[in-house]
Symmetry: C2
Subunit: 354 residues, 2 copies
């Protein structure tokens, strides 16, 4: 596929806030978006077309594929059967390999280790016996995670003592799991990296993340990194994208430790920790992803301001009236209706330089 | 009306690029937009709903008004009959007075002069005899303009010699006209000014405009103004908005002369010369307009970068492949299909500082 022409339609699997901001970015480049979403779709408010249907609806999937020029996603847990069908009809970017790897924590860690990249020490856990052996090997504290479908702190439990093993295992309902050993890290950063059809890679400056109850709360740029740590982070992210022959934007979460960078997780899509790029960059992560998916040259990820991004989670959104009055503050709301605990309702970008 | 709640629907009359960018801005604040447009509507690609109907279709206008919480416009030449009907059903912001004034060059100039503001010298022209008298009074060169429906250099002709009078008048097809005397100005600037429901006013930094064949080509911020010229421009714009009890964003075009500022034209809507605010400001003119119309507090118009906005007119859009590769350059395309001479196809914002 060469460059998508003006007016072409980009299909997006998933209609949440990421799809919403992707659709807006696509419009800046003269493209239209068709959203496929089984549930409520805030992205539909700013999309050319919306299909509301389950991922098991073959007719809906076929009609969707027929109406678009290329398919991307804002959500990595699309069922394999749907992807198989869609891929037979239209190109999917980023490719299936990236999706398959990120859908399974063990596949992901194995892939990263094979690339020569460090991860937290880990062990596969399929039974309470496995869990005891893993704790023996990795020590405590440690975190038990389901290998699939976890996000925003869901599907994981922290283990602090051997006595907690039975309850921890029981809470996983026999799902395949991985135990991750404790990592004494200085800070967590994300690299938002894009790779084009031509193989060129462009990374935004690493952002420093702070979580609250397992959910990203703030990302700050610049991150507190030495020049070497900064370039190592970017080279490492580029190595991952190149190895996957990746096309699009990926979020790469890193633990910065005295012994080098460990990869915590990769997300084959635009990422919450990249929302800061909407302020202080001429091309944000959403447009960068659309450029890659559309076969356009990657944009300039140069940053011309310092930014703090803060998520508005649950009742945080009640602060909006005050945030709307704040200086140097861009408010982004997702149109999701009533706040629920843990629900991402919006975010703000504060420009802190100049 | 108090603040519009999340999920409320804003009706926009006109579906061009201004409506498109307004709809995107509204989505950032959690609102949805319903576009009313008789013709092709690029705004429809990123709108919640679109009505394609003429402004004479009373049933369509009623249905539109019934589906929205407030009405605004991206285009000032909506027929009076449509506005009368809509206003009886839902609030229109900015108000009808601002529209009535800007729809008629003579009413506009009279209003501005009454406020104590300078305009180019002018005279009403309804016949060739009037035109001769006006040329006698104002001298040459001068510009003959229809009093209604002119934009982007349409409906106007420059007069350089008395011998051109008959042809110039004939070209106006007996439309009511105004002759504007020549102004020796140093530069033309625009102030993009917003006023909220609470009467507060916020202005973006004045931008300096360059035209090509009567159409805006570039706007540069900062404009080359002394500190006094800068503050005079902003105070003058604020005076206009206050006098009209205006709610929304207005574009105020000024000629900067050794004898002070002259008002060239006002536009009761977001304005092409404010597109630069999409780069280097946390809140752009589109969001500022939506905030005002929705009854929210105005945003911080503080500028944190220097910017040059360039319109892509007609075949300029063929430069897009090269512009997409340029550093510090944000490309905005309107999804309009094939280029035509004089047609605004998109714009670029170049961040020139830092």
């Amino acid at each position: 596929m060469t460059e998508l022409p003006q007016g072409a339609v980009i299909g997006i699997l998933g209609g949440g806030q990421l799809g919403r901001m992707l659709s807006v970015a696509a419009s800046r480049l003269g493209y239209r978006c068709h959203i496929y979403e089984p549930g409520a779709a805030p992205a539909g408010d700013v999309a050319y077309q919306v299909t509301t249907a389950p991922y098991e609806d073959e007719a809906a999937l076929r009609a969707f594929a027929g109406s678009v020029d290329v398919i991307t996603y804002e959500f990595e847990n699309v069922p394999t059967s749907a992807l198989d069908l869609l891929e037979s009809l239209k190109p999917i970017r980023p490719n299936r390999k990236a999706l398959a790897i990120s859908q399974d924590r063990i596949t992901e860690k194995s892939f990263l280790n094979t690339l020569g990249l460090q991860t937290a020490p880990w062990a596969e856990v399929n039974s309470e016996t496995d869990l005891r052996a893993a704790v023996e090997k990795l020590g405590l504290p440690a975190i038990l995670k389901t290998i699939r479908l976890g996000y925003d702190g869901k599907g994981q439990v922290k283990l602090e003592a051997v006595a907690e093993i039975p309850a921890a295992w029981a809470s996983m309902s026999n799902a395949a799991c991985v135990l991750e050993g404790f990592v004494a890290f200085d800070r967590e950063v994300s690299v938002i990296a894009g790779r084009g059809v031509d193989g060129s890679v462009a990374c935004f400056d690493p952002g420093e993340n702070v979580h609250r109850e397992g959910i990203l709360l703030t990302t700050t740029v610049p991150a507190r990194l030495t020049a070497n740590q900064h370039s190592d982070a970017i080279l490492l992210a580029a190595r991952i994208l190149n190895a996957l022959d990746y096309v699009g934007v990926m979020g790469v979460e890193l633990f910065i430790t005295p012994k080098g960078h460990l990869v915590n997780e990769i997300a084959p899509r635009v990422h919450n920790s990249g929302h800061w790029t909407q302020a202080g960059c001429t091309v944000d992560q959403f447009e960068q992803h659309i450029r890659a998916v559309a076969g356009l040259p990657l944009g300039d990820g140069h940053r011309y301001a310092d930014v703090v991004m803060e998520n508005l989670i649950g009742d945080d959104v009640l602060r909006v009236p005050e945030l709307l009055k704040a200086r140097n503050t861009a408010v982004h709301l997702y149109g999701k209706g009533a706040p629920r605990p843990g629900r991402k309702m919006g975010h703000v970008n504060r420009v802190v330089s100049k």
